[in-house]
């Protein structure tokens, strides 16, 4: 079991705040145990920096088990690092070699401004959900849970879309910084369920509108988001959202035209 420890060279993005320019800074970290997680490696670096009287590297993290979506590093040019289906917190150092140079950057997107070092502000995602990512049902107003049967296939597809952790890897990896995978996952989940049906048109229109307002780019179907998504959210959702949006736009136009004619 016992493996040799590794010596690494780290190139890390350091930026004091949103309005100050940042730069890559080199660090050497010796004695890295391959059993460590990537974030534990960062912990060790930070402990050494603090003890040396330097500023530790700020980065976001919380659950460290791949579900909260808080961790967000761009490692060697890939969102969440080299392994597929893995968040940074679940990436382990055994996937690196002694002597490796590792480049670590924050998510880069105009809609995700840097707060400090590797931490970015993703509140734009919250505002997109606030624009319509819900079913308008008040507490206490619900019918019995089994009142509406839902085909298992639909429920499973809705679940697959709903597993999005809102980390933003899709945006970080997209050359256009598009948030289409994130937005479409929520639009799809609710479009696939009868509970979401009454508001589906309004929802698609409003969420897309907010997405554009936040400054995310357009989708040009490169599919990079699907590859880098740690939860394997499918780009089929984007196609579904495009249909939802188109249909909603047409209905809205017709309604307007109808009103003008009458």
């Amino acid at each position: 079991m016992s493996q040799n420890t590794m010596n690494l060279k780290l190139k890390i993005w350091r930026q004091k705040g949103a309005s100050t320019p940042g730069k890559m800074v080199d660090y050497t970290l010796n004695g890295v145990n391959p059993e460590m997680s990537f974030l534990e490696m960062m912990d060790v670096l930070n402990q050494q920096l603090i003890e040396a009287g330097e500023e530790p590297v700020a980065f976001d993290h919380d659950c460290r088990e791949g579900i909260c979506g808080m961790c967000s590093m761009f490692i060697n040019g890939r969102a969440h690092g080299p392994m597929t289906g893995t968040t940074t917190c679940q990436l382990h150092m055994r996937h690196f070699k002694d002597g490796d140079t590792i480049t670590i950057e924050p998510w880069r997107s105009a809609a995700f401004p840097v707060i400090k070092d590797l931490s970015v502000d993703r509140s734009s995602f919250d505002r997109i959900i606030q624009a319509g990512g819900y079913v308008s049902v008040n507490t206490g107003a619900a019918p019995d849970a089994n009142a509406i049967p839902i085909p298992k296939e639909d429920a499973d597809s809705a679940f697959d879309a709903a597993t999005c952790i809102g980390c933003g890897a899709c945006v970080a990896t997209c050359k256009n910084a598009s948030a289409m995978l994130f937005v479409s996952a929520k639009v799809s989940q609710l479009a696939l369920l009868p509970q979401g049906a009454p508001e589906r048109q309004e929802r698609a229109l409003r969420m897309v509108e907010q997405m554009d307002k936040e400054g995310f780019g357009n989708c040009t179907n490169t599919g990079a988001c699907e590859v880098e998504c740690p939860k394997g959210i499918s780009i089929e959702n984007i196609a579904r959202m495009n249909r939802e949006f188109l249909r909603a736009s047409l209905v809205k136009k017709k309604k307007k035209a109808g009103m003008a004619a009458s």
């Binding site: 659950c63 979506g69 990512g133 507490t139 499973d156 809102g166």
Partner: protein, 659 residues
């Protein structure tokens, strides 16, 4: 002697909640517009409460330290949520869910609260489905259930291994809708640093904007703490890195009593510690014990690979000690048995602090059954194993994958190594039936309160309690309290009490920043965790607890002399956040030891080595300890104990046996 009034409504158990709802006071919609409510924490309890109160018309301010309310640690719950729907026609009922929860808690919880929890459990499932939570369904389109944690019915609703995630995203969507409607104002990346009491009532909080470092005053007519548990006092736990006790601890220091702080749940199946750099522990779902067999080698220090150790040289200690329940004994029993074997020197792996969870025989068993199903009577061993692995992958694939990601070992080929880890805290701030603490206007919901799980929580009950408190209890009981406040008007943040509370916060931070010692915050947190785990963990004794109390005192003193907090207080400074949290853990740990020392019995997750049967099982003392220990903070000297006697009118306490 008691200053505690649980305010349990009169009348028969099954009618208490309905009668209470019928008789409590209401606030009319016009007046709700003039009332402000602060909700701290946006997990299941906080998000559901904030959303529901916003819908009702209150002005809500919701705070979370994460960058989004969707990231609260409820998101990580795996297994499921219980509800007495009886969709299986297997005899489930509100009474049975109530009974199982009381018994599971080893008769240290309040009957009336637990019955209410069971009653509203059914509404939770309805509400979540209406929100679009994609629960698992059967081919007929109706909801599926599974069995969980030692009960005899199937009442657990689930969404694969991500039930907590789906429920939280449902509550988050309801919350987001109220944010859009202007009913809830959201403060993410904000940490509550102090509670503000004005004229004996909770009237606000001091919060720190974690991005700018700015200290803010927020006032309200009531404050709801929904800030989760304090398992991170042990440093290593299955909690998120940021989970902390600060909000409830500051309230405790302002006079709120802390209930049963020593009741901690240690979960038996977690991935073991691999080195001193370890930052957190990962849970492997309880469901794995359905098919896996747990063992250690019969010989000490056996260096062979597990697959090379023959059957007769393995000790399946749970099957040996508990033939009736075997590998499916409750969490507290399974955890203690693993510790006993490792302490005796039979542990496995590099650290010797792990046991094997073996799927080899399950793979073979399922393989044979599958071969029969596929009409392959003469299937060779390789085919049987291949088929068996397919069946196991369908049932547990995602968990096996997670194990491999973390350890690099393939659990289809070699047994998993597991060890118990801190997972949940049953203790928390003391609350009455209305979920209000002994401080007027301070309500405490979810894991942050002590109320429903006694000395041991059953699986799939934490999600149920969080949502019950937020969706279906506090919307009623808060109105009853606020009915007195309709003429109060806005609460000014200029009051001297706000000034004072803010000063306490800035003084503490200035002191921390000025120490400039040579040890990191993590150094102290790890040292505290080690004391707690060794002396106030799975097994406790009088001597160890007394040692722990003095060791924690010394550690706390060293912390305030030697800690180094880099950076500045007026900026984004994660190390300062940690330092403030660890300062509070260093005080809480001591209280937990006092509580464990006071409770001269073993019950649920609290195992005092002096109080056990000859076979090493927990020995409860109902005559002397059928009470909630509610501790009052004292600036100097020892904490003061208040007792709330627990009355069992409907269920008779018995000894739990799993042999």
């Amino acid at each position: 002697m008691s200053v505690l009034n649980s305010n349990i409504p009169k009348g028969p158990l099954a009618e208490k909640w309905q009668n209470h709802k019928n008789s409590i006071r209401l606030v009319n919609p016009a007046n709700k517009r003039n009332l402000d409510v602060i909700v701290v924490g946006t997990g299941l309890a906080g998000a559901s409460a904030a959303a529901s109160l916003g819908e009702m018309g209150y002005n809500v301010k919701a705070f979370c330290f994460q960058d989004s309310p969707r990231r609260a640690h409820s998101i990580a719950a795996q297994g499921g949520i219980n509800a007495a729907k009886n969709y299986r026609n297997d005899g489930d009922s509100v009474y049975r869910l109530f009974y199982d929860t009381i018994k599971g808690g080893d008769y240290r919880s309040r009957e009336a609260n637990v019955h209410r929890l069971a009653e509203v459990s059914v509404n939770i499932i309805d509400q979540c489905v209406a929100q679009g939570v994609p629960f698992a369904r059967e081919y007929g389109g109706l909801l599926d259930n599974r069995s969980f944690g030692g009960v005899q019915v199937s009442r657990t609703f689930y969404a694969k291994g991500q039930t907590g995630q789906q429920l939280l995203l449902g509550a988050y969507s309801a919350l987001s809708r109220q944010v859009a409607a202007g009913q809830v104002k959201l403060y993410s990346r904000h940490e509550m640093m102090n509670l503000v009491m004005v004229d004996g009532k909770a009237r606000g909080i001091i919060a720190r904007n974690l991005v700018t470092g700015e200290i803010e005053r927020h006032s309200a007519h009531a404050v709801l703490l929904c800030t989760g548990g304090y398992g991170n006092v042990f440093y290593l736990s299955t909690n998120a890195m940021g989970s902390n006790v600060t909000a409830t601890w500051k309230a405790h220091k302002k006079g709120a009593f802390f209930g049963n702080p020593c009741f901690t749940q240690i979960h038996p199946t977690c991935i073991p510690v691999s080195g001193d750099y370890q930052s957190k522990l990962t849970l492997m779902s309880e469901s794995l014990r359905n098919d896996g067999r747990i063992w250690v080698p019969k010989a000490k220090d056996d260096k062979r690979k597990p697959v090379d150790i023959p059957e007769e040289e393995r000790d399946y200690y749970l099957e040996r000690r508990y033939p009736a329940f075997g590998n499916l004994v409750p969490r507290d029993v399974a955890s203690r048995a693993a510790k006993e074997r490792c302490d005796a020197g039979y542990g496995v792996g590099q650290s010797k602090m792990a046991v094997y969870l073996d799927y080899a025989s399950a793979i073979e068993r399922y393989g044979k059954a599958e071969a029969n199903k596929q009409r392959l009577p003469n299937a060779d061993k390789a085919t049987i194993l291949k088929l068996g692995k397919q069946v196991v992958a369908a049932k547990y694939g995602n968990l096996f994958e997670m194990y491999e990601k973390i350890t690099g070992d393939n659990p289809y080929e070699t047994p998993m190594r597991i060890y118990p880890a801190v997972h949940y805290t049953m203790g928390g701030l003391w609350v009455d039936y209305n979920l209000m603490s002994n401080l007027d206007g301070l309500f405490v919901l979810g894991e942050a309160n002590f109320s429903d799980h006694g000395a041991n929580r059953l699986g799939a009950s934490a999600l149920m309690q969080g949502l019950a408190d937020g969706y279906f209890v506090v919307p009623y009981t808060l109105g009853n309290y606020l009915a007195d406040d309709i003429r109060t008007g806005p609460i000014s943040t200029e009051a001297p009490e706000f000034e004072q509370a803010e000063k306490e916060v800035t003084d503490t931070m200035d002191r921390l920043m000025s120490i400039k010692g040579d040890k990191t915050v993590d150094y102290f947190h790890k040292a505290l965790g080690k004391i707690m785990w060794d002396k106030c963990g799975m097994a406790r004794n009088e001597q160890g607890l007394k040692e722990a109390i003095s060791e924690i005192k010394a550690l706390r003193e060293a912390f305030w002399k030697e800690v180094r907090v880099p950076g500045d207080k007026n900026e984004f400074n994660p190390e300062l956040e940690k330092a403030c949290r660890v300062a509070d853990f260093l005080e809480l740990g001591e209280l937990m030891c006092y509580d464990a020392l006071n409770r001269n019995e073993s019950c649920g997750g609290h195992f005092r080595e002096e109080y056990q049967t000859e076979e090493g099982e927990a020995l409860r003392d109902d005559e002397n300890y059928t009470y909630v220990a509610a501790w009052e903070y004292k600036e100097s000297g020892e904490p003061v104990l208040h007792k709330e006697t627990l009355e069992f009118e409907n269920v008779k306490p018995t000894t739990r046996s799993y042999k």
